[in-house]
Subunit: 202 residues, 2 copies
DNA sequence: ACCTGAACACCGTTCAAGT
DNA sequence: ACCTGAACACCGTTCAAGT
């Protein structure tokens, strides 16, 4: 077993092992406590080996963030295709956003914590972010077309829902809003978002 | 001048000098790039000297966060005392929150970025946070008493407004929402929050 | 009371060298 | 092609020693 482990990452899965170790650690200790060297240690490899797979620490975090937005998009798409009228779909989308944050707190923190892309070094990360927003935007526009939602700039209404879900998830993860459990948090969000949805109803 | 500087921090202002250096650096490079050693360098002092004023790096950041919440409370209180009906006051409060985030981005990042208080080591920080929320809560309850706002758990309605302002400020500072300028951001927030306020109106 | 100097155990990153 | 070992310039934190 130790011998097998010694060559385990010659098959191209070191990148993934490093990412997994990173997510483990970030989930427990926060993104500011994450180090490349410890991820390499956990993966059973010398710290310099990480640089064969990621240009630097930021590149590893950007990969995590990008994967995170991809997963989030999948979740939001499922919610957008759920049963119900426009308002119920928007509730589902917001709820899916909050659920994602609680199911994947490490990913969520990496996606919205450190300033990974201030120099636009990771265009694909930006693209994935916009794809996620687009799903929300489409749901708003469909609701407007069907006459279920108020008129107005669809981008603005989508942003209103995003800020609500994002603000809630961020504040709960940061323990500024206290909830008993992840399940409770989701139910609480549905309460919180109700006035906004009332305001969006035509 | 260099001689004067040599003894400048024997008068008790090193703590402040370190905080100022920290805010400067965090404003430019982000909280993850801040180091105690560089703050000490900028303050013209050996790095070990910082430990005479702060227990550790986290304590310095907690001081910044606590000061930030105090300033935020002042701003929110001013907004809560502004002219107008309940909805106008809530708009002012949300707007003040967003304005604070843009005027003091470094403070805002420290307040809501790293997990400074997961072990409840800084109870005064938690107290200041709650004081800020209380101002919002009072405004909601006054509006409910006057019959201008919908009934319901005041804490939930206050949380709805908080998530909206906080989500907006966070996403703009993180460049997930793009705005041309700080002034534009504030005006844009007023647009974004409109549906929520409609939903809060009785 | 406040700061310095030296030390310790860490980092991120680079690069020649090994297989 | 992928990893190791050694090196470099950094950190946060501690502590005896200086004024």
């Amino acid at each position: 077993m130790p011998v097998a482990k010694k060559r385990a990452y010659h098959h191209g899965d070191l990148a993934r092992a490093l990412v997994d170790a990173a997510l483990q650690h970030i989930g427990r200790e926060g993104v500011e406590a994450f180090t490349l060297r410890e991820a390499a240690r956990v993966a059973g490899v010398t710290h310099a080996a990480a640089y064969r797979h990621f240009a630097d620490k930021r590149a590893l975090l950007a990969t995590i963030a990008e994967d995170g937005f991809r997963t989030l998009s999948d979740d939001l798409r499922d919610a957008a295709h759920s049963e119900g009228d426009a308002l119920e779909k928007l509730t589902s989308i917001g709820r899916a956003y909050v659920r994602f944050a609680f199911r994947e707190p490490a990913r969520f923190r990496v996606m919205f914590g450190p300033r990974l892309n201030y120099d636009r070094r990771f265009p694909s990360l930006e693209a994935e972010t916009q794809r996620a927003f687009r799903i929300l935007l489409d749901a708003i526009e469909a609701g407007q077309r069907d006459g279920e939602l108020i008129e107005g700039v669809s981008r603005d209404l989508a942003t209103a829902l995003w800020t609500s879900a994002h603000g809630f998830a961020s504040l709960v993860l940061h323990r500024k809003i206290i909830v008993r459990s992840a399940t409770r948090a989701e139910a609480y969000y549905v309460e919180i978002v109700r006035p906004l949805l009332t305001g969006l109803r035509r």
